[in-house]
């Protein structure tokens, strides 16, 4: 069985980080498991963690009184869950539920934020990685706004 340090070192999200940075991240991380149906993040709660999903599926969504729980995105193995820990007011904007049994690495975001105060290189590296995730999700959201499956003609 691999150690969490090995799992972090192998993951594409952390590629390019220095050995010392990987070691620090491993010290902030732990393996977690969620049964299907478990709420992982709740809208409005304090955001002090981010997750790298190893296996399973997470449904990001929100509750609308007239529609119930609406899923806006699903994340799977390899995906990163949670960026609100990086930005004030450090509160989750959406709910995240385990749609299937989920295994993940959980990182202590509060610990990372403190480290960032004294380690600008690590801060830059992490911010750059999260910015890429956010850009990809923004692009995917824009595609959905374009209604890309809509009918092309009117005959």
């Amino acid at each position: 069985m691999k150690t969490i340090a090995e799992l972090i070192a192998e993951h594409a999200f952390f590629e390019g980080l220095a050995e010392s940075e990987l070691t620090f991240l491993a010290g902030c991380a732990k393996n977690v498991h969620f049964d299907a149906g478990t709420r992982i993040l709740a809208e409005g709660d304090e955001a002090n963690t981010f997750y790298v999903i190893r296996t399973g599926k997470v449904a990001l969504g929100y509750f609308q009184p007239e529609r119930g729980n609406v899923v806006i995105e699903t994340l799977r193995g390899g995906d990163v869950l949670g960026w609100s820990w990086l930005f004030e007011p450090y509160r989750w904007h959406f709910d995240a539920d385990a749609a299937e049994p989920v295994s993940a690495m959980a990182f202590d975001g509060a610990c990372l934020r403190s480290k960032c105060e004294t380690d600008p290189r690590l801060c830059y590296q992490m911010t750059q990685r999260f910015a890429k995730v956010m850009m990809e999700r923004l692009q995917a959201t824009r595609l959905r706004l374009l209604d890309i499956y809509g009918p092309p003609g009117s005959r």
């Binding site: 449904a59 729980n69 609406v70 390899g78 539920d97 959905r144 890309i148 499956y149 092309p152 005959r155």
Partner: protein, 282 residues
């Protein structure tokens, strides 16, 4: 005035052949699949990717891809009601009559992918023209390495061929992934745009062929996503839709740059389409 003789092949190809609706299956709120049988002589057997001109009697004619066929002349067309003609076609009931001309156009040419990986990417009703290619892929599965079908739709209610998709998934002959733009928690599939599924594929881009069909904007982003992962534009195959009318390259309604979509297409490599679609004048 010169009258065309009945023996003129143009007359023959421009004359609809009568088919009867054998069955009608509702796919979504605005889409039905019609199973048609010839009243008299049948059209030639189509190849995956080709289309017929469907004539709603007394209303008008539209190009509709062939979504399936059987050896005895029966043919399947999946039609989405987006205008007067397609609405009339969708309204046909068993026993109703329709005129068909065809089959027209080029084919998916999946045989060119033999020995490599194949990914089929469908958006919305774009799964209909791809269905024969998927079935062919399944029949000849041993000729390819990895094979995957990625389907995107607005919502779970707008996915077509749901039973067939479930069958393909449970048979596990090819990998099947379905994603929608938004859903309630009742939906057990993925939520996100179809291009987000590319990251879950383990394909070798050097030998991957992608068959892509959907609205033009979806194909554009799918092609960009595949090329970003190393698939060459020559191996991204798309099916274009323009205002095909004659089906034989005479009327020019479907011209796109140097091509007539009805005869040079509708199936093209993305390398040929990308420069044309980037020009606003076209």
């Amino acid at each position: 005035m010169v009258l065309l003789a009945a023996a003129d092949p143009t007359v023959e190809v421009m004359t609809p052949v009568l088919y009867r609706v054998l069955s009608r299956a509702r796919e979504t709120a605005d889409t039905v699949t019609l199973e048609l049988e010839p009243v008299g002589e049948a059209l030639a057997v189509p190849a995956p990717g080709q289309f017929n001109m469907m004539y709603s009697l007394g209303v008008g004619e539209v190009p509709i891809s062939v979504s399936g066929w059987s050896g005895d002349g029966r043919i399947l067309h999946t039609v989405r009601a987006v205008g007067a003609i397609s609405e009339a076609l969708c309204g046909l009931q068993p026993g109703g009559l329709v005129g068909l001309r065809g089959p027209f156009g080029t084919t998916w040419g999946a045989e060119k992918a033999v020995g490599g990986d194949v990914v089929v990417v469908a958006g919305g009703i774009g799964l209909a023209p791809l269905r024969p290619a998927v079935n062919e892929l399944i029949v000849h599965r041993d000729r390819y390495r990895r094979a995957a079908l990625l389907v995107g739709a607005r919502s779970p209610e707008e996915i077509i061929f749901t039973e067939e998709l479930a069958g393909w998934r449970s048979d596990a002959v090819i990998e099947v992934m379905v994603t929608v733009d938004a859903a309630t928690t009742e939906w057990k599939g993925d939520v996100g745009v179809v291009t987000t599924l590319f990251d879950r594929l383990s394909l070798d881009p050097e030998v991957t062929t992608a068959l892509v069909c959907g609205p033009e904007i979806m194909m554009r982003f799918a092609a960009a996503g595949l090329m970003a992962r190393g698939v060459s534009a020559e191996r991204v195959i798309v099916s274009m839709e323009r205002s095909m009318q004659c089906g034989i390259g005479r009327c020019g309604h479907c011209q796109l740059g140097p091509y007539f979509i009805c005869t040079d297409g509708p199936v093209f490599p993305w390398s040929e389409m990308a420069p044309l679609l980037a020009r606003r004048e076209l």
